[in-house]
Symmetry: C2
Subunit: 442 residues, 2 copies
């Protein structure tokens, strides 16, 4: 007998964060019998692996970002909310927003990471990091303003400082930033200035560890260092930064302390979990690890709260060999799929399964036409690695329009070394510098 009754309301899945993890999870639930709400502070998903290209003028913000509403336009079971999450009430199954609350049956938290200045937050104004579109356009404007000021100044010492660019941290982001800055000053800006030669710019990449691309295979690190050297980047390894201010950077090694006067310092050294990780851990009665990450179970669930899943850069998840998984996009993407699978399984009363990370490899590009790629036992570098890098990144861009536009802009700038995205926008955010060189700490 058919009765005329209302269907039971769908289980509510609230996903916090529209990065790789949250986005993948929400999309993987598109045919699940749930109602999905994706909450993010910003209105767009950002393809962070290419953010350094916006910071160095190769691409435009719209090329690497896609509005979340546009991504979920056709996914009828998904709602997008732009909002600021401030806390959690796990027993009541409630997310606290800056201006309201959201009830959930399932909660997925994936708010990623932010820069860490290792307790030296006073370095932030002089050494911005690269996490958002606003960071990228701010860095782009800083770099350009330095060249513009150098063109106008007569004081040779100050001109030298303006033409010195320091990148702190030689992980993939630092290496890619330094490579792109080298490409820019050596080639793209050639002939654009009349009084300075941009190729005279001094590029310094500072790394506390013994080599660039520390987590990669040593042979690839050596290749990357060689490419950087060829591009004219001075790589300083085993140097600790002891001071950053508007005048520049002071570094120290076992032997001595050295001041590097520089108008532009970029921070690519440390990340820590977003502040929400701390609040989530507290709400669950857990402790975050040293990087501020939330410990999760094998199935990504949060302690005793089986209906809360944590993933991406903010989750401390142990991989093969007991080592924590790295904070990279593939981990977040695979965890997003896994979280969605866990929800679907549990809705069918099936037990959850442990998350397993498949490491397809890692890669980094150094300037134009060179990259290093590590895929399982396969490790290669050079032009073919660069094409691989190009292809993989292009295919992962979330919208087809962006894929076509980015391909066009890459092809264009490869052929012409064009620089249409080379715009100074926004207010000058640099701290005021005296012309004096930074002095070593007393």
């Amino acid at each position: 007998m058919v009765t005329d009754r209302k269907p039971a309301p769908l289980p509510r899945v609230v996903i916090i964060g529209g990065g790789f993890g949250g986005l993948t999870c929400a999309r993987a639930l598109r045919r699940a019998p749930v109602s999905v709400t994706l909450v993010d502070r910003s209105n767009h998903h950002l393809f962070q692996p290419l953010l350094y290209q916006v910071a160095t003028g190769g691409l435009s913000p719209a090329n690497i970002a896609a509005p979340l509403r546009s991504i979920f336009h056709r996914q009828q079971n998904a709602t997008v909310l732009q909002g600021e999450v401030v806390g959690f009430n796990l027993p009541a199954k409630r997310v606290l927003l800056a201006d309201g609350t959201l009830n959930y049956d399932w909660l997925v938290v994936a708010t990623g990471a932010t820069h860490s200045y290792f307790g030296k937050d006073e370095w932030a104004p002089a050494a911005p990091g690269l996490k958002t579109l606003d960071d990228a356009t701010d860095i782009r404007a800083r770099v350009l303003r330095a060249f513009e000021q150098a063109e106008r100044i007569d004081d040779l010492q100050e001109q030298r400082r303006l033409l010195t660019f320091v990148v702190v941290g030689a992980g993939p982001t630092g290496v890619e930033l330094a490579g792109a800055l080298a490409e820019l000053s050596r080639h793209t800006l050639k002939g654009d200035f009349r009084r300075i030669n941009p190729a005279d710019a001094r590029l310094v990449l500072i790394e506390a560890g013994p080599r660039v691309l520390g987590p990669y295979d040593p042979t690839l690190s050596a290749k990357a260092a060689a490419y950087l050297h060829r591009l004219g980047v001075t790589v300083l390894t085993q140097k600790t930064v002891t001071r950053i201010d508007a005048r520049g950077v002071v570094v120290r090694d076992a032997a001595a302390e050295e001041a590097i006067p520089a108008a532009t310092v970029l921070w690519a050294a440390g990340v820590q979990s977003s502040p929400l990780a701390q609040r989530l851990a507290e709400a669950a009665g857990l402790e975050t690890d040293r990087a501020g990450r939330v410990p999760v179970g094998a199935d990504l669930s949060l302690g005793a709260h089986a209906n809360v899943l944590v993933l991406g850069d903010m989750a401390s998840c142990v991989g093969k060999g007991g080592k924590p998984l790295p904070g990279v996009a593939p981990v977040a993407i695979q965890q997003g799929s896994h979280a969605a699978a866990m929800i679907r399984r549990r809705l069918r009363s099936q037990p959850s399964t442990p998350f397993r990370y498949y490491d397809y490899g890692s890669m980094a590009t150094i300037g134009r036409s060179a990259a290093v790629v590590s895929m399982g036992r396969l490790k290669f570098a050079g032009y073919f690695a660069w094409l691989t890098w190009l292809f993989v990144h292009l295919m992962q861009l979330v919208s087809f329009e962006n894929r076509v536009l980015v391909l066009f802009q890459w092809a264009w700038s490869y052929l012409t070394r064009g620089r249409s995205a080379w715009l100074i926008t926004g207010k000058d955010t640099r701290p005021t510098a005296s012309a004096a060189a930074p002095s070593p700490t007393p």
Copy 2:
């Protein structure tokens, strides 16, 4: 007999402003025996006629801007300086910069216009105008934030206020802005939200004069008004704005005063010359006109200073029939060519000639697929006018790369109503609004 002597230094032409006038003048001097220095506050030339498309998410900043250095890359006799001009010493032939001076033999001043709030500068925070890339991305973020907040709010009255968009001034910019906002809310955002219907947005275009597109032929004004009506824009003519604040707008006509609660108000009503016009006029012992423009001679020269030429929106230049020329791109472009010709003639000791403006017509677009075009006696509207508008604007973009990219993005968004440039960036700059409606002035 050949003597080994240095060539005489080239006459120095300093051009202030990299808009249509300054850019055209500098490029027209590329083969002249002069040394050109182009000074601009920003590092890019901006194609202002398409700025409203950035403000409404159709195009990206880099699509309509081109770095000045890139434009003059190959022009060996041209130098670009990013700098802030603060004054003039005409007897000493010297331009005063915020941090230095520039000597000239010829001076071309073309710094354009800025918004005018008719003495009500306190309206500016609540009703931004559209002149720079930063203005455009700020307006884009305001419009988007209003939709995002409306989606989240329960208070129906406040939701209505958030979904009300007011454009003040129905000249070409105001009409194009209102049309683009209508297109956006009626079509582009369709299906993107779950709780609000963006098509319910109320769009109000306020004009103090008797009709939209006042300077155009009345038949075209009527066509434009009809297109706006079809797109659901409420056009209020012969209404004076008496108040703008964070709550909305108060308008008045002969009969009564009315409050229009609105979270987003855009200013397209008035322009005045850039502040430099005043300083230049003072330096020359002249008085600016009501709009702050500098009176110029028939050959665009400044009073007794035959070696100073003033052009574009900041010049008060009389056209046929004694009417001052309008502040539009074609006037600035033709004056830029004329200024360059004057310099070349005088270098050959030829007398200067009066400037004559050739009016090729004017056009404005209203949403997707409709425009009005007036070319001499030819006046037409509709789809073909829109194609004309498209073609003319595309061909005028300064770099080929931008032409291809803009064509692609237009084709793409025409076919898909895509919105890749639909990004919220930057800080929220809106003044805080209480939920109360604005009250008529006492």
